[in-house]
Symmetry: C2
Subunit: 336 residues, 2 copies
């Protein structure tokens, strides 16, 4: 069973996959492995994935059969185990939690060759509805402290299958980075009595130089202290810490700006590998009300990762003001 | 001039290279660029690098001429500018520091094809002496708040030149990750009245399962909560927060265990790309005395980076106990 282990110095939790023995050889050139032609996410191969958790499909179609337009299944190689109990124990000076949690795959389309950037607005809306449904269902479990929805697009970004999909990991702890954001937003609030994300939205709208696109409910911009070239954040204009509370109207605006932003990146950078992470507080009652949910998109264009990885120090060769200008210039009319 | 910009939420500083205008096209397939055959670090090409900051060379040889065995030069494309003043200013809600700092390259050997893992112990000692000399010289500058020595080995790890070299960046701020380690070591001390790194050294020696190698002054082990397969830390057994205070005897032990550990990784994983980062407190007087300097080695074997990057959450498919066993098994007798 996987194990969550805590770094005693900076208190970062790590998932250690203890169940699968691997040899050094497994890591040599592993990243060069050719992709197999068989795709478990295509119509007709539903039986090759774990049973579906949910799907949007016509009423007259069977579970785990074709016909669906969005399908959610358990990850075949889950990083965390829904069957485990999140039991905590010590190992000398170290802290461990048994690897309880959820790891699901959201198959975004039956079309093997589509990408999130090139799907219709309607299909992107359906995907976000699936995100919300799974989020609301999982957040009911009191043992789950965090739900992280993310996407790896392209092999360079860690996608092992080409068929467009995103993932959801439900954890018994709050990931370090998100915990820092929550703590930082509380710090800022206690100092200014305002939400730091709301202030950012206001300043970005005022300046305009880093804005990529804006609609009634959302704004997409390059953050002032962007870590990576073309790093782009999508932030709701109305303050809310919990993605699970997104309304039907907001889902329309979110789908529109998400698809457009990914399409701008797709066209401007020739369909680059990218990751996105949806950062949200979960549940009311906890002190997350000063937090502000948002989506961070990170194209994987530069290789100067290791140093920055190890130091938390980032060198970005592309000023966000320039990146925003290029992304604004992309023609996306009539798409989707 | 480059700019340091601060993320207002999690207070991470980022270097934004504002001086070089780049277009989206510059990032497309940039990582596939073939390496040029000309090498500025080879004998006879000294004039193609910025002037040497220091070098170990025979007394009868000229500066910026062949004969040296370790050579330190300013980075030709510095991320930070020694000529600038670290002036702080605001940009609306955001904080900025003008891009003051140092960025140097330590050329580890004249041998174009050597690697740190395959150099002689004596040569590795010389390199560490160069690290110490540059560290001691730069820490005198009160404007410099941190000095980070690191190495990128292999293109996948961000090395733009194949000729074995490491780098030094001197910054007007403490990098976030190191600041977290310093804060964490203070937290631990205030709770246990012991150094967290000293406690780790003791537990690792007691358990032995994660130890790779040990000598009189240093221990190399896989951390209990390793983020990456074969992540290895080298920690001095005697508590000291400041690498700059390393003694001649300790340099011998450090060179020995560093070369051996890199050689084990080199042999076990077929010369994989890797990064290492030397984490140290600087100067006495500041409250860094509870900190404990060390070196972190991170082979770049897995691609599941983006998600972890964005979330601070790591999934490690290789238990550190297994990795340590494989590295211990490597035969390195009679090398160097």
């Amino acid at each position: 069973m996987p194990e969550l282990r805590k770094d005693p110095i900076i208190k970062r939790w790590v998932i250690i996959a203890t169940e699968r023995a691997r040899r050094p050889h497994d890591f040599i050139n592993s990243k060069e492995k050719a992709e197999t032609t068989f795709c478990p996410f295509d119509y007709g191969n539903e039986h090759t994935t774990p049973p579906e958790v949910m799907a949007f499909r016509p009423a007259d179609t069977e579970k785990d059969s074709p016909g669906w337009w969005v399908r959610v299944v358990q990850n075949k190689f889950p990083a965390l185990d829904p069957g485990a109990e999140p039991e905590r124990f010590g190992h000398g000076m170290y802290d461990v939690i048994k690897g309880f949690g959820g790891h699901e795959v959201i198959v975004e389309t039956p079309d093997h060759n589509a990408t999130l950037a090139t799907l219709s607005y309607q299909q992107v809306k359906e995907i976000i509805w699936a995100y919300k449904e799974r989020f609301r269902s999982l957040e009911k479990d009191e043992r789950i402290k965090y739900i992280l929805i993310f996407k790896n697009h392209g092999r360079e970004a860690g996608a092992s299958l080409a068929h467009s999909h995103s993932q959801l990991i439900a954890t018994p702890i709050v990931p370090k980075r998100v915990g820092e954001e929550i703590a930082g937003s509380i710090d800022y609030y206690s100092f200014r009595e305002r939400c730091v994300y709301c202030d950012m939205v206001n300043q970005e709208r005022l300046e305009g130089t880093r804005v990529v696109e804006e609609n009634k409910d959302f704004i997409a911009f390059e953050p002032f202290a962007a870590r990576f070239p073309f790093e782009t954040w999508i932030v709701p204009k109305v303050h809310n810490h919990n993605f699970g509370e997104i309304t039907a109207g907001e889902i329309d605006g979110f789908a529109f700006i998400l698809k457009n932003t990914l399409l701008r990146i797709h066209k401007s950078l020739d369909n680059p590998p990218y990751n996105f992470m949806l950062h949200t507080g979960i549940r009311d009652g906890k002190d997350m009300t000063h937090y502000h949910w948002h989506l961070e998109i990170v194209p994987r264009l530069t290789r100067v990762a290791g140093f920055e990885w190890g130091s938390g120090f980032y060198i970005n060769p592309m000023p966000p003001e320039h990146a925003a200008m290029y992304l604004r210039e992309v023609k996306i009319d009539g798409e989707g």
